[in-house]
Amino acid sequence: MSVTETYAPSADTGGPGQPLLIVRDLQKHFPVSGGLLGRTQAKVQAVDRVSFSVKKGETLGIVGESGCGKSTTAKLLIGLTEKDRGEIIFDGHALGERLSLKDLRRGVQMVFQDSYATLNPRLTILDSVAFGAQVQGLADPKCLARKMMDRVGLDPNRFAHRYPHELSGGQRQRVNIARALAMSPRLVVLDEAVSALDKSVEAQVLNLLGDLRAEFGLTYIFISHDLNVVRFISDRILVMYLGEVVEVAPVDSIWAEQAHPYTRSLFSAMPSMDPDDRTKEPPLVGDPPNPINPPKGCRFHTRCRFAAEACKTKVPKLAGLSGNADHLVACHLHDAASGHPKAGQGVPA
């Protein structure tokens, strides 16, 4: 029996038109305690008002700088961190209502950045890969694990009884992918899954991820800080800044026009590949502000070249661009009624 035949994801319920995942108004604030009595002194507003959906079979790329809430969002999605507020709806079933956490984790699996820290050093590779399937009570987890190892390019006869420290980073990341896929998930969240790998190994793993997506009909959420990688693998890109979504758009659309000033800065910060046309001026000054006390209004206004009074007080809403409803942006420049002096004109050149 081939590995494709053993792959048994949960049944599709809503048909292809229904998004596989809908996230509504997700929020997570981490308390910062301190002082003599350990009282909560402040809150890290890690994820705020985050809403998005992922269609069946698509790959959604999430980009943003450290501290923008990418990884917290990923952890909230599979319940590794408890959300404060918001809804997570997987294929039409809301988490906590018609869907238990255990069932959600069967359908949604995650691959993390640090391939070593996420494997139990005392378990052999085979036991690690089979572990989830065993917990979920799937039939013959070891056999399934061997097949999955073989599928990700690790010969089970050579690797099954090795320990994580005996493998290279690329091999360990293949183990993590095999472990995620052993559960037959429909959605895989890849949180900086290739970032720690060397470039030549990264390309191999990206090829593998592309093949697996096609073979098992997977949907990916691909989190990365590398825009080139995100562009390569994603259908749509979601840009986060300080815990909020600032722009969501199909890859080609966002590559042609970055509608949010932050997205534009992020794109201009990519190193040039042309020795005759190197970057002349940094697009932004300073570091991202602290998410403990994020700026009021539009959180980007402290670093934005186009900020006006309205940006300091009013929170911009995520809305479609005129003429391109798939391209969503949260910026007063695009909202004619925002009160920004250049409202409705888009981002100046």
């Binding site: 690329g170 191999q204 090829n207 592309g210 800080h225 390569f232 190193p271 020795p275 570091d287 991202p288």
Partner: protein, 325 residues
């Protein structure tokens, strides 16, 4: 004028539980004021080369052969006071993780001043004013206040600026930068790269910039040396390497950068992984992963072919590969 840097046949071997031939017969030279990127993946010997240059390799566990001359000084023969004088004054280094490289219990002003007092023999007040001037030059806002900050009070980008200020405080002729922007966010990385570019011009120092990111190499350096398995496999101007990389490994690295790759297309990935270097390579170390491999590649080390000027490639296909592509 003496060459800024002359490395001849540098070989570094680590011994212990297992032996690692980290650097194998590396030769490299730099003119005064040149910027060179050492490009390669983890384990290729980039950082070990920098550490050898500063005499930072653990003496009991490493054996170093060959020679290193910086401005005519034989670095490998230095020890004690002479080595202390050389470090920081002639050559200094910026590390990847400034949070680990800075001392958490002293203010940043104190740390910079300490290095200035040590090397220039000036009073503490003068050293502090040099420190203030350096913080200004690395564009730290309200430098006067920051002088009295501890490292943990600064953001990652600010800490790296402090690290650069510290490294440049004694005006070294050669700055070594070991992936100084890898831990930073993209929008901060580009700021630091442009800052280093400006300071390099202003101070006229030479820079060796270690990176695994070709884009970063393009932004910072005039020349690029590509390292693989403890050897330099190709060297040329940044333009030559980007436009006309000759070594199959360089070509693979360029392709893996994913710049301008069609979305969803299959990547032309280099198969396999770099060698473990437990034995000293006696054939082309890239041969097991190379798509152009011939029997001769596995028989002996490929000679370093100098094509024109200072452009060199260690590949039997140095000319033919280009034709085949």
């Amino acid at each position: 004028m003496t060459k800024l840097l002359e490395i001849n046949d540098l070989t570094v071997r680590f011994s212990g539980k297992r032996t690692v031939h980290a650097i194998n017969n590396v030769s490299l030279s730099m003119e005064q004021g040149e910027t060179l990127a050492l490009l390669g993946e983890s384990g290729s010997g980039k950082s070990v080369t920098l550490k050898a240059l500063l005499g930072l390799l653990p003496p009991k566990r490493s054996s170093v052969e060959g020679s290193i001359h910086v401005n005519g000084t034989d670095v490998l023969s230095l020890s004690g006071k002479a080595l202390q004088r050389y470090r920081g004054a002639e050559v200094s280094m910026v590390f990847q993780e400034p949070a680990l490289a800075l001392d958490p219990v002293y203010t940043v002003g104190h740390q910079i001043a300490e290095s200035v007092m040590r090397h220039k023999g000036v009073s503490k007040a003068d050293a502090l004013s040099t420190a203030l001037d350096m913080l200004d030059r690395v564009r730290i806002p309200s430098a006067n206040r920051r002088l009295h900050s501890y490292p943990h009070e600064l953001s990652g980008g600010m800490r790296q600026r402090v690290m650069i200020a510290l490294a440049l405080a004694c005006r070294p002729r050669l700055l070594l930068a070991d992936e100084p922007t890898t831990a930073l966010d993209a929008t901060v990385q580009i700021q630091i790269l442009l800052l280093l570019r400006e300071l390099q011009k202003e101070f006229g120092m030479g820079v060796i910039f270690v990176t695994h990111d070709i884009g970063v190499a393009v932004e910072i350096s005039e020349r690029v040396a590509v390292m693989y398995a403890g050897q330099i496999v190709e060297e040329g101007t940044t333009r030559e390497i980007i436009r006309d990389g000759r070594h199959p490994y360089t070509q693979g690295l360029l392709a893996a950068n994913l710049h301008d790759v069609a979305r969803g297309a299959r990547l032309n990935a280099i198969p396999g992984a770099p060698p473990a270097l437990e034995v000293k390579p006696d054939a082309c170390p890239f041969a097991p992963r190379c798509s152009h491999v011939m029997p001769a590649c596995r028989a002996a080390l490929p000679p370093m072919v100098t094509t024109e000027g200072r452009r060199r490639v260690a590949c039997l296909h140095a000319d033919a590969v280009v034709a085949a592509e």
